[in-house]
């Protein structure tokens, strides 16, 4: 019994090590419920949704966050989806904000709660090419609120246009950046294309 108690303590300490928790961390609290089909999808409701993801962190391949304004795992190794930390990545945030379906042929509106762990089938590069029934490429000068700019490696949503010709972009950019609103000049960057969601209702 004594050996059990001593090693029980050692086990608890070991469990705190990163490797032991790798697959049982933030995602253990996420859910896998079906989305809610909605008939409306307005750009300001999308702003509400993306804005609420600020401060919740970044997770490569992720799409699950709570609303406590803190990245629960801010020092995950970049580019490692098995870290299972909090936050979406750039394309996961876009997919959920744009209320898309995991079925690429569906162009309906599917509302995913923040703790619903879903990334969607699209990478930034696929968004850039307008892949999937809900998505399409548009002229960069026409990109407006909650449309997006996408490159092969990143996508960010336009929160609002700004003086000096840049844009306020809400994006999940990198592990150390987290998710937030930044001033960017993607609009004039040749590596970025303008992309948009079909089906806004206002």
């Amino acid at each position: 019994m004594k050996a059990f108690l001593v090693t029980l303590g050692i086990g608890v300490v070991l469990a705190g090590a990163t490797g032991a928790q790798a697959h049982h961390r933030f995602w253990a609290r996420c859910n896998y419920e079906a989305p809610t089909f909605t008939t409306s999808m307005t750009r300001d409701a999308a702003q509400d949704y993306a804005n609420a993801a600020r401060y919740e962190g970044y997770q490569w391949g992720g799409g699950c966050w709570n609303y406590d304004d803190v990245d629960s795992y801010p020092y995950d190794p970049p580019g490692d989806p098995s870290a299972h930390g909090e936050g979406g990545d750039c394309s996961g945030l876009t997919f959920k904000t744009w209320r898309e379906s995991n079925d690429e042929w569906r162009d309906g509106r599917y509302f995913w709660f923040a703790m619903r762990n879903v990334h969607g089938p699209y990478t930034a590069g696929r968004f850039k090419r307008g892949d999937g029934a809900p998505n399409h490429v548009i002229s960069k000068s026409a990109v407006g609120v909650m449309d997006a700019f996408a490159s092969e490696s990143h996508i960010g949503l336009v929160f609002y246009r700004s003086l000096y010709g840049g844009d306020q972009i809400v994006e999940a950019k990198c592990e150390s950046c987290g998710t937030n609103i930044f001033y960017r000049t993607y609009r004039s960057d040749p590596s970025y294309s303008g992309v948009a969601r079909w089906g806004w209702t206002g």
């Binding site: 999808m41 010709g165 001033y183």
Partner: protein, 451 residues
């Protein structure tokens, strides 16, 4: 010491296993926090002010009101009032915001009454925006009545038509001032990232009156100065994010950092010439676009206020001293507004008086204004011009008669830098920060006005 028995070994193994399982359960429980969203965040806002308007142009003020997301997926129930007055003095008149059917430019709006919009001195205004669900409110600009936004009519502006941009016909540099290969030794510059996520290099630079080039090598946590007698590195305590930077006249350095995983708000850090900290100040607003060295210290263009604020002051004081234009000293400001796809309006103003103004129109789409600065009696402007798959800079030197000098510049950026930090004007030379797969460089372009 006794030899371990089979029983004690088994007990130990069971203990470790139970401990790990228990630890994981405890860890995952604390990781998730609340499983169901219950956020009631402060109301957020966005607004693009009509800083410079054409006489007779109808003016509508539009706002985005951003609240906590609703579980039914509908937009928030917002409301607001705009307080307007002609010119810069006198009582404000309250107008309730209307709620439109479209949110692409902001759902909430008010048409500025003609008698206010037509004032020769323009008009000033601020808005109080509310989330009706919880009564939370936000004022835009942040200084409210103490520092309202100003809109001025663009009268007697010099018309400049730049026509179609000829991509590929760019000017060659006069001098490559510095070249630094990627690395961490003195004289090299740090780069980080991956092919999948993109690369980030030195995010900003500045040039002093002697031609000394200071590069913010934030990946290596240092400043590097290239002077005539060589290069020197000075460690500074920065987060490593994409930051803007300005060298102050006394050699101090201001570094404007974005929010990050450990600091959720943008911060201005100041260092003396040795790299010792001179203080840290949080910005008044949530987002920044550009840092500049103002007549009384560093000033930052901030959003949602869309005002230049003295960033070394505390947050409330920044908001109280916000101005629509970049302060030039002597009570003058330089107002910059990109309009539509290919128009740029510029005005140097003193109070309500427009000292000089330009209206630039381009047949090729214009992007961001990287630089707009006074050079004696002239103004130097660097703006991006772009198509769907091309992008270059157009440089204009303007005076009261029109264009004095004009040329195109390429946009060599392999590694990302801060958004509006790629050009600096020092003396009568323009400097450009660029990068390639092998390193970073700064090029100099001498302007004709000096010759």
């Amino acid at each position: 010491m006794r030899r371990p028995t089979t029983r004690s070994l088994a007990g130990g193994a069971a203990g470790i296993a139970a401990g790990i399982l228990g630890g994981i359960v405890l860890g995952s429980g604390s990781a998730g926090g609340t499983a169901s969203p219950a956020r009631r965040a402060p109301v957020e806002a966005a607004h693009l002010p009509p800083l410079l308007t054409m006489p007779g142009e109808p003016i509508t003020l539009r706002y985005a009101i951003v609240c906590s997301p609703r579980d039914d997926g509908l937009p928030c129930d917002g409301s607001g009032d705009v307080y307007l007055r002609p010119g810069r003095r006198g009582p404000f008149r309250r107008l309730a915001l209307g709620r439109g059917d479209e949110a692409v430019d902001g759902r909430y709006f008010v048409d500025v009454p003609a008698q206010i919009a037509s004032s020769r001195e323009g008009f000033s205004y601020y808005a109080v925006l509310r989330d009706e669900e919880n009564g939370d409110s936000v004022t835009v600009p942040s200084g409210g009545e103490a520092a309202p936004q100003h809109s001025l009519p663009l009268r007697n502006a010099v018309e400049v038509r730049v026509g179609l941009h000829a991509f590929g016909s760019t000017r060659a540099r006069d001098v490559r001032v510095i070249t630094a290969e990627w690395g961490s030794d003195v004289g090299e510059a740090g780069v980080e990232g991956t092919r999948e996520l993109g690369f980030v290099g030195p995010s900003s630079f500045d040039v002093d009156a002697h031609g000394t080039v200071t590069v913010l090598d934030q990946v290596n946590g240092r400043l590097q100065r290239w002077a005539r007698d060589g290069v020197a590195a000075t460690p500074v305590d920065v987060s490593g994010g994409l930051a803007d930077m300005a060298v102050e006249p006394d050699g101090s350095v201001a570094v404007l950092e974005p929010p990050n995983r450990s600091t959720p708000a943008p911060m201005l850090r100041r260092f003396d010439a040795t790299g010792a900290s001179k203080g840290v100040q949080r910005l008044a607003d949530r987002t920044w676009a550009k840092l500049a060295d103002g007549p009384d210290g560093p000033v930052v263009l901030q959003q949602p206020s869309e005002q230049w604020m003295p960033a070394a002051l505390d947050r409330a004081a920044q908001a109280r001293h916000g101005t629509p234009g970049r302060p030039l000293g002597g009570g003058r400001e330089l107002l910059v507004q990109r309009v539509g796809a290919g128009e740029l309006r510029l005005a140097e103003v003193a109070g309500n008086a427009t000292v000089r103004a330009w209206r630039i129109t381009s047949a090729t789409t214009l992007g961001e204004v990287q630089l707009a600065e006074s050079l004696g009696s002239r103004i130097v402007v660097v703006a991006k011009t772009y198509t769907e798959d091309q992008g270059e800079y157009v440089v204009l030197v303007l005076d009261r008669a029109g264009v004095v000098e004009r040329f195109g510049l390429s946009a060599p950026q392999w590694a990302e830098a801060a958004p509006l930090a790629r050009f600096r004007l020092a003396g009568s030379s323009l400097y450009r920060l660029g990068s390639t797969p092998s390193g970073v460089f700064v090029d100099r372009f001498d302007l004709e006005v000096a010759r």
